[in-house]
């Protein structure tokens, strides 16, 4: 090995990322070459300076507690924790009984508020709306930000067990903003984000179940317009604060 090759591999060598053969070759070279061995020592010195400089920020105890509390809230059936150093066991005791109790209360509530209980579509419409609102609220509109359908589509590869259709509609006034992984009906789904002036449209896509009806349906939830349809074996939900006419126009374009 010559100095040039060492230059290219010295970091991988210092990080012990090389196989035995190359490692031995480099060791051999370093024992003979002052300049390369100095360069290697510099990497080691920097590494140990970084490791010994106390650069690791530990999560504050309050943050940890807050996260655990919001996880309980996220499960929404769990009771709110008291602000105390309650031992974990105590916590689990609460969960153990809290979930069934709250779950029963929830079912009772749903039965009471809806005559025959919510349909799948109804529940899904709520879930879709909630995800749309959350995507705008939590700075999580996109995981991959791109107006290029050839960037967004491959981004989903390996993240989902299906390939969502991705179209850019910039020419039609609905530029693609990007994509995001989301979660609906207990499964990961693709979310595509489009923009119309100041309005965002989330399109949620996942494989349709076998007997899904092909009729298009629209709904309004909390002031958001939703359109739902199935096509080519995929289920689509478009949701936005856009007016119904423009949202319909958008759906026609995406179909």
């Amino acid at each position: 090995m010559n100095c040039e090759e060492i230059e290219a591999l010295k970091h991988a060598y210092a990080d012990r990322e090389l196989d035995l053969v190359r490692t031995t070759e480099i060791e051999h070279h370093l024992s003979d070459c002052r300049a390369c061995s100095q360069a290697y020592e510099n990497i080691r010195a920097l590494s140990s300076a970084l490791k010994s400089s106390d650069l690791y920020f530990k999560a504050p105890a309050l943050l940890k507690r807050r996260i655990r509390e919001s996880l309980g809230a996220e499960n929404k059936d769990a009771p709110t924790l008291q602000r105390s150093n309650a031992p974990t066991l105590f916590w689990w005791q609460w969960l153990k009984w809290g979930i069934p109790i709250a779950g029963t209360a929830l079912i009772a509530f749903l039965l009471a508020t809806s005559f025959i209980g919510p349909s799948t579509d109804e529940r899904l419409a709520q879930e879709v709306t909630a995800n749309h609102v959350r995507s705008l609220m939590a700075n999580h509109l996109t995981d991959v930000t791109s107006s290029d359908q050839h960037t967004v589509k491959p981004w989903f590869d390996g993240k989902l067990d299906f390939a969502p259709p991705v179209k850019d509609l910039a020419a039609q006034g609905f530029p693609l903003q990007g994509g995001r992984l989301d979660y609906l009906q207990n499964r990961p789904v693709a979310a595509l984000v489009y923009q119309r002036h100041k309005h965002f449209v989330n399109v949620f896509i996942w494989p349709a179940t076998r007997n899904s009806s092909t009729t298009e349906r629209s709904a309004v939830r909390q002031g958001y317009n939703l359109i739902h349809w199935n096509e080519s074996g995929m289920t689509f939900w478009a949701v936005s604060d856009l007016n119904p006419v423009e949202l319909r126009e958008f759906v026609e374009l995406i179909k």
Partner: protein, 177 residues
Amino acid sequence: MEEQDKQARFEATIMPHLDAAYNLARWLTRNEHDAEDVAQDAVLRAFKFFGGFHGGNSRSWLLSIVRNTAYTWLQKNRKHEIATVFSEEEHDVEDLAANPEVLLLRKADHEEIMRAVEQLPVEFREVIILRELEGMSYKEIAEMSDVPIGTVMSRLARARKQLQQSLGQRLESGVSQ
């Protein structure tokens, strides 16, 4: 019960990496308050997607969500930081191979090293944190940041060069004062 089981599994596999999550968020946002928001947001997101986690490296899995969350946050709040494109030449600093930096580096104190790392461009800072503080392998870093291993290697090389240079300069200017 399923939900209870999910929470118990989450507690056992993901929650032990809260420090790692916060540390990465802190270095990417360079601010305690924002780091708390990003870390909390990321963990809640991880909980939501936990059904899609089928074993494997739980720390990498959580950190990739922290990373995505932090970049989305930067995109929104400090767009200029990630909008910068780094050309090879622009950021290639003088090779210090022949300079005897070793002794100087040992004298660099906590504050100086901290500032030097904070001043790295975000992609370089990230790779330094993951490699030097988390001890992650090139392959783990590549997988969680969705780039080829070669890119991890070159970012790390350039990040280290830049650190060596800025620490060197700082120390020299410190000496001359």
